[in-house]
């Protein structure tokens, strides 16, 4: 019945029984105050060599506060879930934190073009792509983990090198008699998700699309939440159907206003395209990369300090205005577009 086995590295899989034991022993069932600083969250839950997955999508609702802090704390040898990993992985590679990636989508910035830094790292062999997968495939790996299953089926990926370089297997479906792809569960060692609001226990509300964060939050062994705002538990309890992530999935809560800058926080503030443009420009060389890190990461004490450096409340107010369509967007990369 086993028709094919992908040759990619099986990242983040655990036998469901082993993971149940881990959950039983390690995940909190009682509501305790989990608020801490970004620094505390990194030192407590991000270990060198960890398999890391970031929430959000591309440059949208990404926990940049935690990305900068991981670089500042010089985390090493992380394996990254390249699930529409874009700005996050770019910086983590630039900061020397990541050396292996399972790729669904990485090393590019959507409309803005390819990523100079990420590409250079892979092409030089400094960073290894250990397996390939599709976007749907990656999020369904998290669904399998959320459900405590060894695998989840999909009809995508069949017949391609994406499957051949993945960790999926193909069997003959005993119901239809047709080949079907089985995606192994993925349990990140640590996931970081940025949300608009949560309480101090970690009960989160998220407006806008969930992307794959619903499943990821429940798949991750350790989950760090960074939040624009901490709200009272009463607000959670008054409309419990708005809770997208419950406290018992959460290990740390880090409050950080503007914590997604320069990425977009949907319904709150827009991409800082000038800052992203500066990074895309600097990351064309190792020297530029170092310059960016020295200035924005090592040169700042924490994220509040960084926000001051990028222009503070005044700058953020502008991005709030762009997000709410009160002001047009501007972007340096626009100059190179629009023709052929």
């Amino acid at each position: 019945m086993l028709l094919q086995e992908g040759k990619g590295q099986l990242v983040g899989w655990h036998d469901p029984d082993e993971n149940r034991k881990w959950v039983e022993a390690n995940k909190p069932r009682d509501m305790t105050d989990k608020t801490m600083t970004a620094q505390e969250a990194v030192s407590k839950y991000v270990t060198d060599g960890s398999y890391l997955a970031m929430g959000g999508f591309g440059h949208v609702r990404v926990s940049m506060v935690m990305i900068y802090e991981m670089i500042r704390r010089r985390k090493k040898n992380l394996i990254m879930a390249g699930k529409t990993a874009v700005h996050d992985i770019d910086l983590l590679i630039g900061g020397g934190c990541v050396d292996r990636v399972e790729v669904a989508y990485a090393f590019a910035h959507e409309l803005r073009g390819l990523s100079p830094g990420g590409r250079r790292a892979v092409e030089s062999g400094r960073v290894k792509v250990v397996s390939e997968i599709s976007n749907a495939g990656y999020q369904w790996r998290f669904l399998a983990a959320q459900m405590g299953l060894p695998f989840i089926p999909t009809r995508a990926m069949l017949g391609t090198d994406t499957l051949e370089k993945s960790s999926a297997k193909v069997i003959r479906d005993p119901f239809s008699g047709k080949p079907i792809c089985l995606l192994p569960a993925a349990y990140p060692d640590v996931a970081v998700i940025h949300v608009p609001r949560c309480d101090k226990f970690g009960n989160c509300q998220i407006d806008g699309t969930m992307v794959e964060d619903f499943e990821l939050a429940r798949a991750a062994r350790r989950l760090i939440i960074s939040t624009e705002e901490i709200i009272p538990n009463d607000e959670i309890r008054s409309k419990p159907w708005l809770t997208k992530i419950p406290y018992f999935n959460v290990d740390a809560v880090v409050e950080q206003k503007y914590g997604s800058h320069p990425c977009q926080m949907p319904l709150e503030y827009f991409f800082d395209e000038e800052h992203i443009g500066e990074w895309l420009d600097l990351s064309k060389s190792d020297e530029g990369n170092q310059k960016y890190m020295d200035k924005y990461v090592y040169g700042t004490e924490d994220f509040a300090d960084y926000i001051k450096l990028i222009g503070g409340e005044k700058k953020m107010k502008e991005l709030v205005d762009v997000e709410h369509l009160r002001r047009p967007m501007t972007a340096p990369w626009l100059k190179n577009k629009g023709g052929e």
Partner: protein
């Protein structure tokens, strides 16, 4: 010279493939613009879906990212990737857009790597949602710049399935029955796929382009039908609407 740019031609040609009262899965850039153009001209009741979960928005300005909040602006739902990918797997999505660095005669695409996978000459972004769109949509529309380095005999990496090895091989691999590449749109021509062999075939050549040029700009043999159609050039209405859809010139040059 015609009074339109290549991107304008590609956008208009792609838009016309889309049908009213159908659902289309779009990425940012040309696909988004083609989708909006179709919706505002001949397909007002077409449903637009984004992979991050935006469903049926009334976009106020062109989104930069498929996860961008513009994709849920006055949308009918802001859901999740699980939801929209499930919709696609279950057969709710009629059209999907794809592009790539390399394509072969069966419409297979490479967006992963140039050179060997383990020691790449050029590392590309990988599948992203492309393999899913190419596997699960009923019909895919492939937008490709055409030259001999891009239209290749053998892909360095099959990221996204077209008709695989041709014939019935796509279905035999377990991919959904009746799905696959519908049209390829290049700067020179539009292609479809011959029904039995599933090999790429000229559907129409763009105004001012001859068949020879189309064939010369490919490393594999493209089939030529008995009768050659000419692609309709963009109309003034279409070109005007493109300016309204992309006023800042993200994809379409300002006039």
């Amino acid at each position: 010279m015609a009074d339109y740019t290549t991107n304008e031609l590609l956008a208009c040609t792609a838009a016309r493939v889309l049908e009213d009262r159908k659902a289309v899965f779009v990425g940012t850039g040309l696909p988004m613009i083609a989708g909006l153009l179709a919706q505002r001209l001949h397909a007002p009741n077409m449903l637009i879906v984004f992979e991050a979960g935006g469903i049926g928005p009334q976009v106020p300005v062109l989104p930069i990212s498929v996860g961008d909040s513009r994709t849920i602006y006055r949308a009918i739902a802001a859901s999740s990737m699980h939801e929209v990918m499930s919709m696609s797997q279950a057969g709710y999505l009629d059209f999907g857009f794809l592009g790539g660095a390399q394509i072969d005669m069966y419409g297979n695409l490479n967006t992963t790597v140039l050179g060997p996978h383990g020691s790449p000459k050029v590392r590309l972004p990988g599948s992203g949602g492309a393999n899913d769109v190419g596997s699960l949509s009923h019909k895919t529309i492939l937008i490709m710049r055409q030259d001999k380095r891009k239209f290749v005999q053998k892909l360095d990496f099959i990221t996204t399935p077209g008709y695989l090895q041709g014939g019935n091989s796509r279905y035999e691999a377990g991919l959904p029955s009746g799905s696959g590449p519908f049209r390829v749109i290049s700067q020179l021509a539009v292609f479809d796929f011959e029904p039995v062999s599933k090999r790429m075939r000229i559907f129409s050549v763009h105004p001012g382009v001859d068949v020879k040029t189309v064939l010369e700009n490919s490393s594999f043999e493209i089939l030529v039908p008995d009768e050659i159609r000419i692609t309709q050039p963009p109309t003034k209405d279409e070109l005007d609407m493109l300016q309204k859809i992309d006023p800042v010139g993200m994809v379409i040059a300002k006039r």
